[in-house]
Symmetry: D2
Subunit: 393 residues, 4 copies
């Protein structure tokens, strides 16, 4: 019987995932492996009930050159995705209810909840699937469970993807370049609108913990940015934007905020009474900045959110190049009998690295080399010696 | 002395405005006119102080083939824009303070305010500029004042633009086709994200009074839509979306809502106490639908706003074609001594029509021919005999 | 047994074909028809051997909502295409060899060849397939055979497609708008290259008999053009280009030539001895103009061919709108019991028209209204009253 | 008096050049330099006649933040370009005729011609311009003269650009990533045409000496390629393409050829008698392969040239990132008193390197690691340890 590779994608989708899946399938088949796609990330291994044909067809998808031939031409993930972490499940899948699993209490946003760790079930399913090696593609959360499986003795190879580019031990995660390409193009296009109306344009971009998306988009569009790694002074920021506007012959200025951007004294607000369903509206830092600018200067603003478009569509060249290479590096590692490693870029070169310990948290922008904490813009000087993506793993 | 054409653009920018400006300039110069660009729409004629060099350089821009040669390659408006309506000014420009103008009380959103009508000043400025004819490019609001000027005896030719396509007397306004092209492409791209996560995707699109943008985008992407012209039944809508999702092998479904979309019993909410600056947050119908879907079905959603990107960037072929043609038709009308007219498309053909009376309000989608009020989707049958954009002026 | 619709696409592919196929399938199924896709245009009906399983699977593809659900998101034709004309076949398909069919001699490019008319076989296959109605999508050549089938008593509905927009009886063929959108964007992008090198840029575009693609691209990019409908004077053309270049502050100029463009005294050359396989190289009018410009003025040129890219990728809004509408109009006609008609746009409105008689030849640009025969550029004035695409069927 | 930087761009334009020019200008002004743009590459320094106002305005353009503010949003070069090499001029500029310059005979394509070395004039002009440092942006040929100037004692900093990516001493030249992004997207789009017609698609791409553009495009589109570094066996190549086609359910296959691609026994042909102006047509390797395929297999092909579009339009993220960084590294080098260096990427990291000696010729693809000489496709395995662009300087 041929050996089996199990492959899955977890977390948010990014362009390039399908290129990885295709490369792994083609290389795998060429190396006499069977390649088994598990659908919906780790959920596929927690919810899979091999005694139930519906569950099997929902969660298991054998991969072949034929059914992966054209998938790399579209974004998203052919295997679909979820945010399930088998070590932290809020509720058990139907067919596991009544069974006993370890629990623990975790705290998020001030709320404590009890979660189940269904790793024994995951291991059982992997064994039943005859999995020789698991290839897990994902961001922080998905990869943390890949590390857990490795600790449990499963042969795992991890591939980092996230447009936030904030996975530890690598300078690059699949999806980052396309996100910046999309963000840059949206901002450059929308200059016409902001300029025609002579406003201050406020763009907000994904990035709760790390400012890579905001910073690198600002780097290539030459605009100001605020990133989670540095709390700016509000008056200084507004002054800079008003001055930028005045000195611009088209009488407008632009700033790009990470979702997690803050200024001194600012805290993301929740406002209003809870509605019928108990939801309070979260404030958007872009809207809040617009209110502040209006109040302090009477300047009108346009607030524009850069959201799902950043992860949609086809990968750009860099993401396609890295996705193809990561997929093949995973297969090379497997051929060499390595496991417990993650593909990555270190010091500008492709490498296999340790799967990051979740305790490290997300990787952050190094302020000293990359951010001008007075001018609230990227730092352009002294890049000699830095790897191509200007940051270190 | 050569005769002078005054040209201005008001309201939101759309791709194609610069093509109009360029065509008018080239044709005008070829016909021995001087072409004077007035900046920032009608504000240029209310705020212009011809005794003040700064004001003149801010509001007056003589147009030539040289300075308009390349403008048609970018979106926005070279002349900039504003939403000023000289007949309804909330406050007077600095240099007019102390002068007497007619006032009236107007009501908007339950609030009454007193506004000034500074038409006498506009007429004075037009005379001082030596304006033979005014070419005004804009949507409802801008055009309503063009009609007013015509009533005052000024020679005016109007050109309709708005991505909402809701100006009366014409089947087409500049910006509509590009907006749909952008919206279609954003929705098709984001299918990968909605599908990868197996969600119900809710898109929201500009269109407060009329549903053209939502309806025509839905027509070409084959998804459901809710438009301001018809209040849907919430349960029916949610049922359709859940069924769509189930019957889709990729397990997702999509709906597109106009900003002004509503369901029976729904009213756009303002919620929360006013913040320090007296602002209450307006609810977004997309977010509200997401809450309802979650509450009634436990289905997860992705809400995606289609906003400024729709009006940014280059015009598509149809907008460029119409923009060039409208610009030249305005000049033909002028050459023939016509005025008080608007360029338009009527019954599929280019025509000159009456500038719409603001009392008519925005043009609306004709439900009978275009919207399926049970399936909440465009109606595809019986189009024979309809003009190319499937609606009548 | 449900009635059957046979649908096929012939000739060159254009974006929008898949939208037609999808609409016909969905509407057809909703109207209780079976929809049978015939692959590779008319070849599917000449080469289909219903006794041969391979031939059946090669040429027959039953269409369902499931297998056409996503096809409208890509260009090309899901049913594939060919240029086969069953009335003019140079050789018989293998399984028909030895059978007797009418023949005739036709002349093309001075060469006479004998062709077979296998219409009896086509009729036999249609009967065997149980075809109630044939929906044929194509350009001149494909449609001429649709008319032939109608004359033979088959119920046929035709849908015109060709980026050349030169089918008689309609102002619009699917693919035209996208082709212009692509051509415009390629030309605007390449201005940077032509300008940076201070050259005369010569673009060549598909269009052997009719100049619509060249003319309308020139209309929206404001450059000179030469179309097959008018032989220009070479010296005058070169003078205009040299003057354009001099008066352009960036010191370049552009001209767009139809494939079939000519000047007085010019004839497309074939040059060189035939190679080993009997092929002579055909000259490209763009290259020939470059040689003439260099010889007469020493000016350097850049010659750029606009070719397959014009028909590749997704349809733009107009093509998607028209494709969806044409597909549904065909089904409306069928429901009303009409046949022998073609969907079209006449005087700016959707209509059903006669399938054109091939004797009419391709539709041509009306020089008087659309082309300036002295300045070699589109004519921009006096468009009032013309349908939106500025030409009449 | 402030020190002066002279900056120029030579050779073919690529997206990203304007970002370099803008960064150098902004940084330069911030460092109290005057930045003087020399137009049309080295021609600006050979043809500049400082006694002639027309010549000065043609060749000298003082750069400021104001006039470079928006240039990075478009491709091409704001300073224009030429292929002039002052050490190898075929004829002298008008105002230098009669003066004596060193000459030598050079041979190109079997033809010997005498060229002038006008370096003394270049040095004179640089001195007259008060140039402290020259920043030269270009490919092989432009940079070879930068090195010459350095040898003459001029302070020179070089920046490599070429979509061919074949400059020695660096792994990356500006323009490469965008070229691949464009090529990939063109090929993926044209799959619909090649597939719809069931052909063998032959793409030809710029790259006379080095195969980087073909190879990397093939890497990310997963198609076969032929590069100048390896002569393939024609029968083997055709067999592979025919097999690819057969095993593809859509019945088509694709191959990408560098301009300089060859097979054993093939030599680029010139054919036909010279025309009136002494030009013979050069054969295109894509057309020649099409002829061979037709002759040997009867298969139909589609030949598509990827040409100027690859260098047109906006830079992608990687090119913008590298262009901004190279521009600033040049200014850092200048601030540190370094010269005679070129910005580059070495082993995945930004570095300053020696300006390449022209004797080294163009950089070539390393076949061993990157090309499968039996399957005529990129080699995907064993990339661990390689820099991100998978090649070494």
């Amino acid at each position: 019987m041929p050996k089996r590779i199990v492959i899955l994608t977890g977390g948010g989708d990014v362009p390039g995932l399908n290129a990885v899946i295709k490369q792994v399938t083609y290389r795998g088949v060429g190396m006499d492996y069977e390649v088994v796609g598990v659908r919906r990330g780790w959920e596929g291994l927690t919810h899979l009930n091999l005694d139930d044909a519906d569950s099997k067809s929902r969660y298991i998808l054998p991969l072949t050159p034929l059914n992966t031939r054209t998938i790399d031409r579209t974004g998203g993930t052919f295997l679909h995705s979820s945010r399930t972490n088998p070590a932290k499940m809020k509720s058990l899948p139907e067919h596991l209810k009544g069974l006993t699993f370890p629990t623990k209490d975790i705290e998020k946003g001030g709320k404590v909840s009890t979660v189940f760790d269904v790793t024994t079930q995951v291991l059982k399913n992997l064994e039943a699937l005859g999995a020789d090696t698991v290839i897990a593609i994902g961001g922080d959360d998905t990869l943390s469970y890949a590390r857990r499986l490795h600790d449990e003795g499963v042969k795992v190879i991890a591939i980092p993807k996230t447009m936030d580019n904030d996975v530890q031990h690598t300078e690059y995660c699949i999806g980052f370049s396309t996100a910046i390409t999309r963000a840059e193009s949206a901002i450059q296009r929308q200059r016409t609108t902001v300029g025609s109306h002579e406003r201050i344009g406020i763009f907000r971009i994904f990035g709760r913990d790390a400012g890579y998306t905001a910073l690198y988009t600002a780097y290539v569009t030459n605009i100001r940015c605020v990133i989670p790694e540095f709390k700016v002074d509000l008056d200084n920021l507004i002054n800079l934007l008003v001055q930028d506007k005045k000195s611009n012959p088209s009488n407008y200025s632009l700033v790009l905020l990470s979702e997690g951007a803050e200024w001194e004294g600012y805290q993301v607000k929740h406002f209003g009474e809870a509605d019928a369903y108990g939801h309070q509206k979260k404030a958007n830092v872009g809207d809040d900045l617009a209110v502040e600018i209006k109040a302090k200067t009477k300047e009108e603003t346009i607030v524009s959110d850069l959201t799902y478009d950043l992860r949609s569509g086809d990968p750009d060249f860099t993401d396609k190049l890295v996705a193809c290479t990561y997929g093949n590096m995973a297969m090379d590692a497997l051929a060499e009998g390595n496991s417990g490693l993650m593909t990555g870029i270190v010091n500008g070169c492709f490498d296999m690295v340790e799967i990051p310990d979740p305790k490290l948290g997300p990787r952050k922008v190094e302020l000293g080399s990359m951010y001008n904490t007075e001018r609230y813009r990227p730092n352009y000087s002294n890049k000699r010696g830095l790897p191509i993506f200007l940051c270190r793993a």
